[in-house]
Structures are given as structure tokens and as C-alpha cells.
Symmetry: C2
Subunit: 285 residues, 2 copies
């Protein structure tokens, strides 16, 4: 496998017209692949307006099972046609009343390698996710794709060092985080963007991995998403970033940088897992 691999992140602004969101995304995927991207990641719930902005019982009707999801089928086929690895977040119906915030990973032949369900579910003003999504328990899979070993966390998952560590221990070279983050109604004066950039890129330092975050952008009713999708290297440096506009980020990375970082900052060598049992507790006061 070549040590060089080119990543593509597709950052779009969604409307209530789902078909339009899909068409615009597909055009961007083709653009990214044409520019050389080999692993392409879409944003969280890529084709839907951010439904958790409000509590609405009709929202559940948007969920689809893996098997009966024409959008997934279409994008898997596209991955095969373009010869790319493609990460496709979607609203998953596991059963009537059991819904997950999930991402599907397709390999270059269009084959579904598996799905990762969002493990950590936020909840707050305009982020009513606990209403829509059950906390996933897909055990943090790592996927051996044609272009490298990758792990996926979905949005809120990206804030938990536990997730990044588990994926890295399993051999992930790149952590992909499809996201939807923006304004905070309780803190109109605060932008979480610099906090988010620091917290997410720092995972790369602790673990010696690349990190690729795809965030949605644009205004949806009361909410403004800030985009800013980025790729950071194993020293935690953001090497490429979009602004708040729709767009595609295409960036080549070199997997050799993983060894370089880990041979200087040997955290995997020096971990003390025999002392970490307290991490399995909710509280320790």
C-alpha cells in the first residue's frame, strides 16, 4: 500500500430539499475524486436538514434501515464506480422505535465494510439528539480499506479522548469525524470553533494519528453551522481547512508521518493500562 493517500472532505449547506442535498453532495464527491481524493467523508446526517434542532415526532420517519436505504445503495455504487473509499453518515432505523446516528463505510469496490453508530449523544438547546438517537454500541470498529486503516466517530464522539484512543489502539491511522456543530443559543457571545479545533486536533497528538473532521455549514432556521472542516497531522497541526463556505477539501497525507510522530512521542509504549480501571466508572467522588 502506498504511504501517500489523498483525503477528501465534503462540506455542504443543507436545505429541507433532501433530494437536492443528495445531488449537491454527489457532485462534490465526484469533484473530490476528480481532484485525486481516495478516501472521501461526508458530514453527519449528510442529506438531512439538522432535524434535532427541534423535537418533532415526524422526524423518526426520516430514518431508514441499512437494507432499505436507496441513498446508501446509490452512494455505495458511486464509491465502486469512482474506486474510492466513502464514509456516508445516515439516520439508521434498527427497528420501529430504535434509531441510531450512523455512518456506513464503503470500500473501493462498493462493498459495505460496516457501520459505526454514534456512541455519545449530546442534548441541549437546538441539539435535541437524545430524542432522536439511541447511544450506539458498535464497539468502535476500525476498517481496513484499500487506502488505509480508518476509524469513525460521529460529532459528539469527537470530544471524547476515549474514542480516539480506542480507535488508535485498534490500528486506525486516520480518525474521521463527520460533524454538525455551530451556534449555541445559551452562549450567543461564544464561538466554540477554536475550542473544537483544539480539542479535536489534539487527539492526533496523544495517539499519533491523522484527524479529519467534516462539519456542515450554513444557516438552517435558528442555527448557523460554522463549517471549518479540517485535516490535522500526528503532531496535531491543522494542515488544511475550509472556511464557512460550501466546499471540498482535498489533501494528500503521508502515513510515514505516523511513525515519525510516534517515535518521538512514544505514548503507546508508555501507557499504563493496568492503572486505568477508574476510566470505567461514571464518577469517582
Amino acid at each position: 500500500m502506498d504511504n501517500k493517500v489523498t483525503l477528501g472532505l465534503v462540506q455542504i449547506s443543507c436545505t429541507n430539499h433532501i433530494e437536492e442535498n443528495i445531488e449537491r453532495t454527489i457532485a462534490r464527491v465526484i469533484e473530490a475524486a476528480t481532484r485525486g481524493a481516495q478516501i472521501i467523508c461526508l458530514q453527519e446526517l449528510f442529506d438531512l436538514p439538522y432535524l434535532a434542532q427541534r423535537v418533532d415526532i415526524h422526524g423518526y420517519e426520516l430514518a431508514r434501515s441499512v437494507e432499505e436505504n436507496p441513498v446508501l445503495h446509490r452512494l455505495g455504487t458511486l464509491a465502486g464506480e469512482l474506486g474510492i473509499v466513502l464514509i456516508v453518515p445516515f439516520y439508521e432505523k434498527a427497528d420501529r422505535g430504535l434509531y441510531f446516528n450512523t455512518a456506513a463505510v464503503f470500500d473501493v469496490d462498493g462493498r459495505l465494510l460496516g457501520t459505526t453508530r454514534k456512541s455519545h449523544i449530546p442534548d441541549g438547546p437546538q441539539y435535541h439528539e437524545k430524542y432522536y438517537f439511541t447511544p450506539g454500541n458498535s464497539n468502535y470498529p476500525v476498517y481496513s480499506t484499500r487506502f488505509g486503516r480508518i476509524g469513525v466517530g460521529i460529532c459528539w464522539d469527537e470530544w471524547f479522548p476515549e474514542v480516539a484512543r480506542i480507535l488508535s489502539l485498534k490500528g486506525a491511522e486516520i480518525l474521521f469525524y463527520p460533524s454538525a456543530i455551530g451556534s449555541e443559543p445559551d452562549h450567543p457571545e461564544l464561538s466554540t470553533k477554536p475550542i473544537w479545533e483544539k480539542a479535536i486536533s489534539a487527539h492526533g497528538i496523544y495517539n499519533g494519528t491523522f484527524v479529519a473532521v467534516v462539519n456542515r455549514t450554513g444557516k438552517e432556521d435558528e442555527m448557523t453551522f460554522y463549517g471549518g472542516s479540517f485535516i490535522s497531522n500526528p503532531f496535531g497541526e491543522i494542515i488544511s481547512q475550509l472556511n464557512g463556505e460550501e466546499g471540498v477539501l482535498v489533501q494528500e497525507i503521508d502515513r510515514n508521518d505516523i511513525s515519525s510522530a510516534r517515535h518521538l512521542l512514544q505514548f503507546l509504549r508508555d501507557r499504563r493500562p493496568e492503572t486505568y480501571a477508574p476510566l470505567l466508572h461514571q464518577e469517582l467522588r
Copy 2:
């Protein structure tokens, strides 16, 4: 307990004259207390030259037991006289042939609250720590001091999200990291300083805690330590920092900021400890 508390960090440049290092440090502690500091932290192995720069069997002679350590005794007394909480890193002799890199915590009455042994031991060119220090297993204690609940990690410990998380789950409001970090002979072109600042301050974001890092400064033979001691808030923002000169950092913080951060970024609420068992493994390939 007042929600406002003032922290003091003492950053000095050490020579081979141990007595002189002690005197200069004590003068700085008094200066910090005079300027209002209530919890004062010294740098890693504060009174010794950085002995791990080379492998030398005579280095072990510098270790002292907690009981028979006149420097610890003197600084404990000083803490009582000044009415401060004082964190004093030292080279601990547990037995002949069993040595730890440790920090003692004294409360405002001069009483020793306990010790924290460095858990994660680095090793590399000019950082031959595995020769001198056994990996500690003091179970990451959190100390209830007169001025707040604090946890301590020692240098390399500061790079491990596991340590910050365990201390925070145990109720630490401020994470203190006495350190000794500087030049990397294998990477003369690289400064780890920005990487270090990001990685360490980000712990504050994940956990909603303050972080206070004390790093030594100055040149010792082949090594240059970069100082840059800092305090960051529960949003991971560095709110006060020294440059590469000797000095004292005195900064008031407000414990109310912990609630503000945690009520916006509710990571403690949403953790999934039942899914974290993989963290107890060394590798998972």
C-alpha cells in the same frame, strides 16, 4: 470556600548547586505568596539539575525518602508559615534500588497530604528516565486542600488523557503538571512547545477543569528547557503564561468557570464507560 483562588507557578533555571536552586526557589515562593498566591506549584525535581540527561549510577544518590528529606521538611514548614498549599516535586527513595519521580502536597498548615508518583516514564536521547524512575502506582490521588480539590501529574503524565480524566472523575478542579521539557536532539529543527501547549491545555476542555503547568527553563549542559509555564481555563484557553525567563506566574481563577464550561459541554453526563474496556489493553490489533 471562596470560588476565587489564586495560583502561583515557580519557574526557575537550575544549576549543579542544589542549595542555590533551593534558595532561589524559596525566594520565588515567598514572592508568589506575597503577590497573593494560595496554591503554589514547583517544577519537576525542582532542586536538582535534570539528572536524566545522562545515565550515571551516582544519580541514585540524590534520591531521598519522604521521612528523611530535609528539603521536604523545610518546604512543608514554609507552606505552614505562609499559609499556602504547596506542591513540591522531589526524587523519592522508596528503598535501595527503588526510586520514584514524586510530588508531595502540603496543606496550609504544613501538613503533608500525600504524594503522587509519576506514573508514565519517558525515555529517549537526553531523557533517560527509565534508568532513574520506576513507573509509579499511587492511583492518581486527588487532594482536598484548603483552597480546592487538586490533582497532580508529573511531566510525561501530562500527555496522557487517561490521567487527566481519572483525576477529573475524582473531583479535581485544577490539574497541576510539574514538568521538565525542552530540546529534542533527534529533532533539532522541531520545537515541541506548541504541540505541548495544545495537548496539555486540551485536557481542560475534555474535563472542564483548570490546568496549571510548571516547566523548568534555561540551559543545562546539552539541554535547553523552554519554560512557558501556563494556566488554562475549562475551555482550554491559556489565560496566563511565562516566557523562557525565570519567573513567577500568579493568576486568580474562578471555580465557577468549571460549572459554566461543564453545563455547555456536558461530557461527564454523556460518557459511555460501559464501552471503554478496550482502554485497559496495551494493544488491540
